[in-house]
C-alpha cells in the first residue's frame, strides 16, 4: 500500500497484554476511515487507546504526519490532553453534570480555536443535534448520546478522530440511525478517522482502509476491497478472520430503475447487477457487497435459472480456503474482481483453471450505502 507519509498516521508499538503481545507496525492514510477489525480481545481497543495516549505502549513511535506524539527511542511522550485528537468511546461517555450544550462546549473552550462558534455550529448541524442542546444526558436515547459524543469530539477540531465501537452499545434500530451520520462525517470532513469494530457490516459501509487484527498482530492491512477479497499486506490469507464475510466491494452507480418489478440496475466497471429498488436516484454512487458464498460458477451461460444476475467472467486464480473442502475462485469481471467460494470437488469437476471463461451466478448483492 502506498501512503503519503506527510499526512499519514504511523503506528509502531508493542504492548504486552494478559495473553498476547500487541505488536503493530502500520502506516495508515491521512484521510478517510481506517477500520481496525478483529474479534473481541484481539487488541483493537488497546491499539486505539495507545494512539490516544490513554495507555502507554512500549518501544512506540506514533506520528501523525510530521507531528510526533510518542517516540520512546527519544523518551518523548505527549500526554493525551495535548494531542489534537477526538475520541468517541464505546458507551456514551457524556458528562452527567453538564447538559448537551455544556458537554459540547467543554472541549471547544479548551481547544482555543479562533473559529470556535463556527466549528461548533458545523458539528451540531453535521450530527443533527440542534434540538437537543438544552437536554441532560439522562434524557437522551442511546443513539442521540453517541451523536452528541461525536459532535463533542469534533468541536475540538481534531486532526485525527478515534472511534471505539461507537455503535456496539446500540440496538439494531439505533445503529441504523447513527450509521448515516458516520457516513456523512466520512464524506464531509477531511480528517482521518481510526474506527474500531467487530462488525463486518460497518466495515463494508464505512471503511476505506481495513486493518485485520488477530491476537495483537496485524494479519492484513490495505484498501478495504482488497482486504475483504483476501488480499492486503502482509499478504497472509486472512480469510479465516473474515469468515462468511469474505467477498468483494464494488463501486457502482444507479443506472436504471424498473418500475414494474421494483428493481434497480447498478453499473460497475465490468458489468451490472440488478437489485431491489430502494428509491435511490439515478446516477447516485453506491457500494455493493458481493459475498464469496453467494457467487457460484457455471461453464455455460445458465438458462432457465431463477438467478437474475449472471456475469461473464474469466478465472484469474484458484486459491485455497480456510477449510480444505472449500476453494476460493478469483474471477475477473471486466476490470472488477469477484470472489466465489465453491467446494473443491466442484472446482475439480468443472476442471477450473486460470484463463478459463465462465459465468458467475450472483445469488445476492447487498447495497451497503
Amino acid at each position: 500500500m502506498t501512503t503519503d507519509t506527510s499526512t499519514a498516521l504511523q503506528i509502531r508499538l508493542r504492548l504486552p497484554r494478559a495473553d498476547f503481545v500487541l505488536d503493530v507496525n502500520v502506516c495508515l492514510p491521512g484521510q478517510g476511515i481506517s477500520v481496525l477489525f478483529g474479534a473481541s480481545g484481539s487488541g483493537k481497543t488497546s491499539l486505539l487507546r495507545c494512539v490516544a495516549g490513554l495507555e502507554r505502549a512500549q518501544h512506540a513511535r506514533l506520528a501523525l504526519g510530521q507531528e510526533v506524539w510518542q517516540d520512546d527511542s527519544a523518551s518523548f511522550f505527549v500526554p493525551t490532553w495535548r494531542r489534537p485528537l477526538g475520541y468517541v468511546f464505546q458507551e456514551a461517555s457524556l458528562f452527567e453534570h453538564l447538559d448537551v450544550r455544556g458537554n459540547l462546549q467543554f472541549g471547544l473552550q479548551r481547544a482555543k480555536s479562533a473559529s470556535g462558534a463556527l466549528v461548533l455550529q458545523k458539528a451540531i448541524d453535521l450530527l443533527g443535534i440542534g434540538d437537543l442542546l438544552a437536554r441532560r444526558p439522562s434524557e437522551l436515547s442511546g443513539g442521540e448520546r453517541q451523536r452528541v459524543a461525536i459532535a463533542r469530539a469534533l468541536a475540538t477540531q481534531p486532526r485525527l478522530l478515534l472511534l471505539d465501537e461507537p455503535l456496539a452499545s446500540l440496538d439494531h434500530a439505533r445503529r441504523q440511525e447513527v450509521l448515516p451520520w458516520l457516513e456523512r462525517l466520512r464524506d464531509e470532513l477531511h480528517i482521518p478517522m481510526l474506527y474500531v469494530t467487530h462488525s463486518l457490516d460497518e466495515v463494508a459501509r464505512l471503511a476505506d482502509t481495513l486493518v485485520l487484527l488477530e491476537r495483537g498482530q496485524v494479519r492484513a492491512c490495505g484498501p478495504v476491497a482488497e482486504v475483504l477479497a483476501g488480499g492486503g499486506a502482509p499478504g497472509a490469507a486472512a480469510t479465516d478472520l473474515l469468515g462468511e464475510g469474505l467477498g468483494t466491494l464494488l463501486r457502482a452507480t444507479v443506472a436504471e430503475r424498473d418500475a414494474r418489478w421494483q428493481l434497480a440496475r447498478m453499473d460497475f466497471e465490468g458489468g451490472s447487477l440488478w437489485l431491489r429498488d430502494t428509491g435511490l436516484a439515478l446516477g447516485e454512487s453506491v457500494r455493493l457487497r458481493v459475498l464469496a458464498r453467494d457467487v457460484s460458477i457455471a461453464l455455460e451461460q445458465p438458462r432457465d435459472t431463477s438467478i437474475q444476475n449472471l456475469l461473464p467472467c474469466v478465472v484469474e486464480a484458484l486459491e485455497p480456503d480456510a477449510h480444505p473442502s472449500q476453494q476460493r475462485v478469483r474471477l475477473q469481471c471486466g476490470s472488477s474482481t469477484l470472489l466465489a467460494r465453491i467446494t473443491a470437488r466442484s472446482a475439480d469437476a468443472l476442471a477450473l483453471a486460470p484463463g478459463q471463461s465462465v459465468w458467475a451466478q450472483v445469488k445476492s448483492v447487498a447495497l451497503v450505502e
Binding site: T80, R82, Y87, S93, H97, R110, S138
Partner: protein, 228 residues
Amino acid sequence: MNYLDADTRSAIALTLQLASLTTVLLLLLATPLAWWLARTASAWKAPVGAVVALPLVLPPTVLGFYLLVSLGPQGPVGHITQALGWGTLPFTFAGLLLGSVIYSLPFAVQPLQRAFEAIGPRPLEVAATLRASPLDTFFSVVLPLSRPGFVTAAILTFAHTVGEFGMVLMMGGNIPGQTRVLSTQIYGHVEAMEYAQAHWLAAGMLVFSFAVLLGLNWFNRGTNRVAV
C-alpha cells in the same frame, strides 16, 4: 430563653466555631488524601487507609492521651511548637482544633474516597481527550461529579465534631470560653446535678443529630434519583 445562660451561649458559639473550622480544614486536607487513596496503586494505600480509619475504632481518650503527651511541654511536637514561639497546644482552642481534625479525619476522607472511586477512570479519560489538563479535570469534572460526597463529608465532619467529648476533655480540659464546648458543658451540668439544664442541651443535641442524619438521607436519595 432562661436556660441559655452566658456559659451555655459561649459553649454553643465555641462548638459551632470549632465544628465549622474543623470542617473547612478537613475538607481541604482530606480532598487530596482521598484522591490519592482512590487512585493510587501504591503499596502504601492499605496502611495509609488504616491510619485514616483509626479514629473510628480507637477510644477518643486514647487519641487524646497521645496528643496530650506529644503536644505537651515534654512531648516531641511540644518542643517544636515552643521553639517556634507558639507555646504548647493542649488546653487551647488551637489544640482542640488539631485534635478535632485528627479525630474526624475518617468522616471526611471516607465519603470523599468513595465518591472519587465511584466516578471511575472514564470521565477522566474523556476529559483528557477533550484537552483538559489533569488539574483542570479535577476542578471541572471530578469536583462537580463528587458533589454528593463533599456534602456528606462536610455534614458528617461537622456533626461528628459537635458530638466529640473524650478528646475534648483530654486535650481541652473544659476551660470556659476557651475549650468548653457543648458536650463538656452537659457533662459539667450533670456533675453539678443541674439536670434541667443538662436535659435542655442533651435534647437539643439529640434533635440536631437526628435532623442532620435525616437531612443527609434525604439529600442522598435526591441525588441518587438524579443520577439514575
